[in-house]
């Protein structure tokens, strides 16, 4: 222990003595370790603890998937769920839930709350208990007995001022009277972002549905039952279902996911791993920089270390001494890195719009917790060892007898040391190039996402959503009349150019649109070997013009397309190309649902440009547009093109809607450009972080190459003196040094480019707008890196040519 204390004391003394190099190393490590700590905090929240349940690895989600359509995670049908629940033996409890936005009215101002209809036992599955009151009773799953509601802590606090006597009180939910039976604990908002829960009930008809998948199923594993065992049992059950009912199960496979895997989607996982990889690269580059500095420092101390060896210090003792210094350096870097990480985490958390963050599993748990501190400590120690081991090991092989002689330079390991230092620089360049290319591609992809929406001119558009309660608007005519009046009133607001209605606004709700099966008259879906599904947009006729969606063929929907005229539809270009190749779709008929569904056949009257609904999809999805007058929706969005700042119209819009129905809450009232930025905020984060990491990598790599070339010039001073004495000109010497540095740069780039190309392929499959053969990424960024490396080599080269040959010749 005492000798470790001595090592530490001496190490501190050494670091203080070489202040400048210590500062450079600490800064490099702080950037690397800080970025890793911040990213660890994010990854911990997304990957390890996305849900706040104890034993979350014992809770599984049972989901459908359809690999042929690239569907990884899908909800399941009621009949499927009910059979699973009856037959499965691997679980203590199995429950289900569905999204169920609710309008709270009656006692206070109308408000739209994010609700979920859940099975009575769902809270038991999750192992959570209410703060007040109770959870649902099994009998409350029956239609007619299901008018009870549980509030989230947030809703209870905000809407009901934390009323301690709230239990038993009545509230109006979608026009019906519900009794409040419980309030959940603070922070519990699962399924995210739940504000209220109502019982999930099925009528007799719903219990038999197998082909409409809308339930999310969760189950709690029995003790001693593994996920694999449960999966095996469930596969047996689903195989029996598929045998008994081949049609609805054809092509669908069961997946059993632990709830952390279920809560964080695959895309979030992929981007989290991408960023973890990127920060890992930055740390490796920082370690390579520090290792190079350590090489120089250890070389400068070769005599001291030889004396220690002569005095009886063993090789391991010398290595320990040097590693102690290296780890001390890392710990100093980690300390600064923690501050950097705190700042980074603050930036990450504070820049997320709350209306987006509440949907992201684990988002509100992102913080520098104990695990992050332990992680930082481990990374610091590992970094210290990684950056210190090679210099220490190589030095320990030095010939001490030579070194101790008056002019001995301990050069027996000089060549291997040089080789290793060169290898480190090559690795730095390769890693920096990969990061730069990744960052460049993501930034370009992100920019493409912004550009693709410029056609909408989103800055002057206001969007909002509303949900008509079924009890009040059961009749089609009532819904149509409501929409008609609202649109008229909105259009009459001063400085509103036009107001339109649509089911889905592009990029709203995180790009979620939902798709429906459809049938083409005279054609069976199986005929083409494809599942025919489409986004169904119910719009007002002026929607296309308001959103600048171009008409390609036929006509738009018109005001005359009403309930009494033949149903018509406009389809997207993509749909025409995909389902009517080589045909003219005009006049053809299609219907939503299967061919034998009750919905009417609609005649195709026009083709419009494709609309990109989500940044996740690389290609636009087929879309069918129909008139709201022919199919008036319950749920819809409204869009207003304005002459001014869209947010200034919100009060007038609220009044206009309230004038038609004062009990109808508006929600998601946002300018369209905010909707778009909210939707792509995740990828914006990734692009911004990659860009920052790419820049850090560029700086660190240039510091690395500068350090090595600078050291190399120092080492070759005598040689340079001889060359100059033999007649070498300044340019000759400069060329010698530059050639050396650029050779290392080119080798690093030659190694990095193929890996960067692989990354580009991976990113191009992840993100719309990323192209593999990107000239910026594969020409511009390598040139930038080469340019920076040239400058980093030029500075030592300039120093070399300024040497006095006589002094250089005397240099030993």
């Amino acid at each position: 222990m005492g000798t470790i204390g001595q090592d530490i004391r001496y190490g501190v003394r050494m670091l203080v003595k070489h202040r400048l190099t210590t500062l450079v190393c600490v800064a490099a490590l702080a950037l690397g370790i800080g970025a890793n700590t911040a990213m660890f905090s994010v990854a911990e929240a997304f990957l390890l603890h996305p849900v706040p349940f104890e034993n979350s690895n014992r809770i599984v989600a049972l989901v459908d998937s359809r690999p042929s359509q690239g569907i990884d995670t899908n909800s399941v049908a009621p009949a499927t769920y009910l059979e699973w629940k009856a037959q499965a033996r691997s679980f203590d409890e199995m429950g289900a839930y569905i999204w169920d936005s609710i309008n709270l009215t009656g006692d206070r101002e109308a408000e739209k709350a994010q609700g979920f209809a859940i099975s009575a036992n769902l809270f038991d599955v999750l192992g959570v208990h209410p703060l007040m009151g109770r959870t649902f009773l099994p009998e409350e799953e029956q239609v007619g007995k299901d008018q009870v509601i549980i509030l989230s802590y947030g809703l209870w606090e905000r809407r009901y001022a934390s009323d301690p006597h709230i239990l038993g009180k009545k509230v109006k939910v979608d026009g019906k009277t519900f009794e409040i039976v419980g309030v959940m604990r603070k922070g519990f908002d699962y399924p995210k972002p739940a504000e209220a829960w109502v019982p999930l009930s099925f009528n007799a008809e719903q219990r038999t549905i197998r082909d409409s998948r809308y339930l999310w199923v969760l189950a709690h594993l029995k003790p001693q039952v593994s996920v694999e065992q449960a999966t095996a049992e469930m596969r047996t059950i689903t195989a029996q279902q598929a045998q008994a009912y081949p049609d609805p199960y054809k092509g669908w496979n069961l997946r059993v996911l632990t709830i952390p895997n279920f809560a964080t989607d695959d895309l979030t996982r992929q981007y989290t791993f991408l960023l973890l990889g990127a920060v890992g690269f930055v740390l490796l580059i920082a370690c390579a920089d520090v290792a190079n500095v350590q090489f120089a420092r250890v070389t400068g101390r070769h005599k001291e270390l030889a004396v220690r060896t002569a005095m009886g210090a063993s090789r391991s003792r010398i290595i320990r001494q040097l590693l102690t210094e290296s780890v001390l350096l890392s710990l100093a870097g980690a300390t600064l890195g923690l501050i950097f990480a705190m700042w980074w985490v603050y930036l990450i958390v504070s820049h997320m719009p709350p209306e987006v963050g509440r949907f992201i599993a684990g988002w509100n748990t992102i913080s520098l917790d104990t695990n992050a501190f332990l992680f930082t400590l481990a990374v610091a120690i590992a970094s210290g060892i990684v950056s210190g081991i090679a210099p220490s090991w190589l030095h320990s092989q030095t010939n001490i007898s030579d070194t101790l002689k008056e002019s001995g330079r301990g050069g027996s390991t000089g060549r291997s040391r040089h080789r290793l230092r060169s290898a480190l620089v090559i690795a730095e360049i390769a890693l920096a190039l990969i990061l730069l290319v990744g960052a460049g591609l993501l930034v370009k992809g992100f920019r493409a996402l912004i550009v693709v929406h410029e056609n909408f001119r989103p800055a002057s558009v206001l969007t909002l959503s509303l949900d008509l309660p079924e009890t009040q608007y059961k009749e089609k005519s009532g819904r149509a009349a409501f929409h008609e009046q609202v649109l008229q009133r909105l259009a009459a607001i001063p400085h509103v150019q036009s107001a339109a209605l649509a089911t889905y606004v592009p990029y709203a709700n995180g790009g979620g649109t939902g798709v429906s099966p459809f049938a083409i008259e005279g054609r069976a879906p199986e005929e083409r070997g494809e599942t025919t599904s489409t986004i169904v947009e119910t719009i007002s006729p002026n929607y296309f013009r308001l959103m600048n969606i171009g008409l390609r063929d036929g006509r738009e929907l018109s005001d005359s397309d009403g309930d009494s005229t033949p149903p018509v539809a406009v389809i997207s270009k993509n749909m025409a190309k995909r389902y009517f190749p080589g045909e003219n779709p005009m006049g053809k008929k299609l219907k939503i649902g299967k061919a034998n569904a009750d919905s009417p056949w609609m005649t195709i009257v026009g083709i419009v440009d494709d609309v990109h609904y989500t940044w996740v999809d690389k290609q636009e999805y087929p879309t069918v547009y129909r008139s709201y007058r022919q199919a008036p929706p319950y749920y819809n969005s409204l869009v207003l093109r304005t002459d001014g700042e869209p947010v200034t119209f919100i009060p007038a819009v609220r009044s206009a809607v309230a004038a038609v129905d004062p009990n109808l809450p508006l929600f998601d009232v946002l300018p369209f450009d905010r909707v778009i930025t909210n939707s792509i905020v995740g990828i914006a984060y990734v692009a911004a972080m990659m860009a920052i990491l790419g820049l850090i990598a560029l700086v660190l790599a240039s510091v690395g190459i500068y350090g090595v070339m600078s050291y190399s010039v120092g080492e070759r001073t005598h040689e340079i003196g001889v060359r100059m004495a033999m007649g070498a000109t300044s340019k000759d010497v400069q060329r010698l040094i530059l050639r050396n540095g650029l050779f290392l740069t080119l080798v690093g780039m030659a190694i990095g480019l193929p890996i960067a190309l692989g990354l580009a392929y991976a990113l191009s499959s992840l993100l719309f707008g990323v192209k593999v053969a990107d000239p910026l990424a594969f020409l511009g960024l390598p040139l930038l890196l080469a340019g920076v490396a040239t400058v980093a080599c030029y500075l030592p080269a300039r120093r070399a040519v300024r040497m006095d040959p006589l002094t250089a010749l005397r240099y030993e």
Partner: protein, 235 residues
């Protein structure tokens, strides 16, 4: 002295350095016996192999061929860690360039061999104090080498060599970096140590200092070509 036990015995020791394709024979057929309490000097012109021989004697290097017994134990083929352990416990070094560590104080420099030996802090303190008193440097405990004159630095180096009570002191041109006055003083110090029972083996190219030793062996082209004995040196 002839009755004293043998401390060092070398037979047929060779040292060959290989550099790329060049073979340099630094030592050839060295036969040497040193008894405990002897003061021996190794003399010869520059490049004759004096320092190489001292390095092998001090276990800083190993012979290419031949046998080397130190205190009755064969040490020619020891592992690096075994050599390190023996060097730490049984050999004290004094270098021409002093080789004090600039970032350690006088006390810490002298303490170094004891640290690597695992000696307790209290014992280290006492031994360092004693060693520094023996060379007259106890008043400079907290100084750094750069704050001392060359002669003082070499005294500290001698204290560092002495502190672990080694079997033999190996001095490689200990006066090489000193002026004549300081050189004489260091030589007097070594002679005092020898008179008190220390075995000293010193490399020098200066005949004046070689005469301080009881025996001088002369090297030329890696071979012992002559041995002389000084009468009454220990008187």
């Amino acid at each position: 002295m002839s009755d004293a036990p043998t401390l060092i015995k070398m037979e047929g020791v060779k040292k060959v350095f290989y550099t790329d394709e060049v073979e340099t024979h630094a030592l050839e057929e060295i036969h040497l016996e040193i008894k405990k309490g002897t003061y021996i000097s190794i003399a010869g012109p520059s490049g004759c192999g004096k320092s190489t021989l001292l390095s092998i004697l001090g276990l800083l290097d190993s012979p290419t061929d031949g046998s080397y017994m130190l205190n009755g134990q064969p040490v020619g083929k020891l592992t690096i860690s075994e050599r390190t352990r023996i060097r730490n416990r049984e050999i004290g070094f004094i270098f021409q360039a002093f080789n004090l560590i600039g970032d350690l104080t006088v006390y810490e420099n002298v303490e170094l061999p004891l640290t690597y030996r695992g000696t307790s802090s209290a014992e280290r303190k006492q031994k360092v104090q004693n060693a520094l008193e023996r060379v007259g440097m106890a008043h400079r405990l907290r100084h750094y080498p750069s704050q001392l004159s060359g002669g003082q630095q070499q005294r500290v180096a001698v204290a560092r060599a002495l502190v672990g009570d080694p079997l033999i002191l190996m001095a490689d041109e200990p006066t090489g970096n000193l002026d004549s006055k300081n050189g004489e003083a260091v030589m007097e110090l070594l002679r005092d140590l020898h008179r008190n029972g220390a075995t000293v083996c010193m490399v020098t190219h200066d005949q004046r200092y070689a005469n301080f030793a009881e025996r001088t062996i002369h090297l030329f082209d890696g071979r012992i070509v002559e041995e002389t004995k000084e009468a009454g040196v220990s008187a």
